[in-house]
């Protein structure tokens, strides 16, 4: 298996070498397709979204900014947006691109989260260490693409409980995050 690290991604940004992109495709393609299948898409549809996602990655590679998040999270947001685009048949999906948002803010209270490969690895650890009750909800949201209401129905708990577990998960992730900084 190849190592997709920041050096590799920077190389792609400098020169869009098809051969390197074929490696990227072989690493992420099967994972994106798997994620789409898990969130309820059939095989053909999952492969279509995967294909569109990888084409977007090729087209927009130079917009990726490593200080705004890990490469995998960038890929994730593209796949998510493509899926929403196709499912809702919208020409433009309702998401703002975090990578493209430049804040005009001088808000001293806002806590800047600097993401590098080390923090990305830590987040991975923290997601795995979340208490089971929170982890299940997060996985249902991200993997199965369920809304808060759907999660509540599936687990037979009130929607307020779903929300409070989501909030708790954030606090846990944030705490863990600070520890590593």
């Amino acid at each position: 298996m190849i190592q997709i690290d920041i050096t590799f991604v920077k190389k792609l940004q400098i020169k869009k070498n098809p051969k390197d992109f074929s490696m990227l495709f072989q690493f992420y393609g099967p994972k994106i397709k798997a994620l789409m299948i898990r969130s309820g898409s059939d095989y053909a549809f999952a492969e279509d979204i995967m294909h569109d996602t990888m084409l977007t990655v090729w087209k927009k590679i130079d917009l990726y900014n490593s200080s705004k998040g890990s490469f995998s999270s960038w890929i994730y947001t593209i796949a998510r947006n493509n899926r929403i685009d196709i499912l809702r048949k919208k020409s433009s999906q309702p998401y703002v691109d975090i990578n493209e948002v430049e804040m005009m803010s001088n808000d001293p209270d806002s806590e800047k989260i600097i993401l590098d490969s080390q923090t990305a690895a830590n987040i991975k650890k923290m997601v795995r260490q979340l208490p089971q009750k929170q982890k299940i909800i997060i996985e249902m949201a991200f993997n199965e693409d369920l809304t808060q209401k759907e999660i509540a129905e599936k687990l037979e708990i009130p929607i307020g409980t779903v929300k409070s577990r989501m909030r708790l998960a954030y606090i846990k992730l944030k705490e863990g995050f600070k520890e590593y900084q």
Partner: protein, 224 residues
């Protein structure tokens, strides 16, 4: 911009995981385009998505998948102009309008150009058609100084984003860029404060049903 009213972190998580309907996603997008604190949170949540992608066991691709991809990128001229020019447009428009750019494509780039319809004395509204949305609605409201948003009910969640002016309800004061993210249970009747009218955009699950007789009268003509 220093904002004081933010969405529930649970809503931000759902935004990140793709679990919000379009009207709610639009309002969150508008808020995070102005709010550092919340865009940082969304970044953190997006990382969860990244982790899950990496942890996912590979699915089998169809045999010609790689060839198809390689063909597509080789034949695709390396033309990045369309995305770049779009971004420049957005930036330029952003400099001379009060409307945050994630709202442009739904309501245009100027409050002045909105074609309001009368709802009640001092209150105007426009419904924004959401194609492909079964049960989520987006409405623009223009409420005069000192006016109350008529008491209303709806079946589920509600979010309100302030485009201009200010309002107040029992949960606090909301200014430009602030987002009110209320649970179903919260009964609230916001009042516009200050000298100027308040323009806000409201996402609801299910249509807003106004309680008062007067508003109901109009309800039958205009569904909001």
């Amino acid at each position: 911009m220093k904002l004081s009213q933010h969405p529930d972190p649970a809503s931000l998580l759902s935004y990140s995981s793709g679990g919000l309907s379009t009207p709610f996603s639009i309002l969150i997008s508008a808020h995070i385009s102005l709010c550092n604190t919340c865009s940082e949170k969304v970044k953190l949540y997006n990382e969860i998505g990244g982790v899950l992608i990496e942890d996912t066991a590979d699915a089998d691709l169809s045999q010609d998948a790689l060839n198809k991809f390689m063909n597509a990128i080789v034949h695709e001229s390396d033309d990045r102009l369309p995305t770049d020019s779009k971004n420049v447009d957005i930036q330029q428009q952003n400099n001379n309008t009060e409307i945050p750019f994630p709202l442009y494509k739904y309501i245009g780039s100027s409050i002045e150009k909105i074609k309001w319809r009368y709802l009640a004395p001092g209150i105007k509204r426009v419904s924004i058609l959401m194609e492909g949305e079964k049960n989520a609605y987006l409405s623009l409201l223009h409420i005069g100084p000192g006016k109350k948003i008529p008491e209303h009910t709806h079946t589920g969640e509600e979010m309100t984003f302030v485009i201009s002016g200010s309002f107040q309800d029992k949960t606090g004061v909301y200014n430009i860029g602030d987002l009110a993210d209320h649970d179903e249970e919260i009964e609230h009747q916001p009042t516009v404060i200050g000298k100027h009218p308040c323009v806000c955009i409201v996402a609801t699950e299910g249509p807003m049903i106004f309680k008062s007789f007067f508003a109901n009268l109009f309800q039958s003509f205009y569904r909001i």
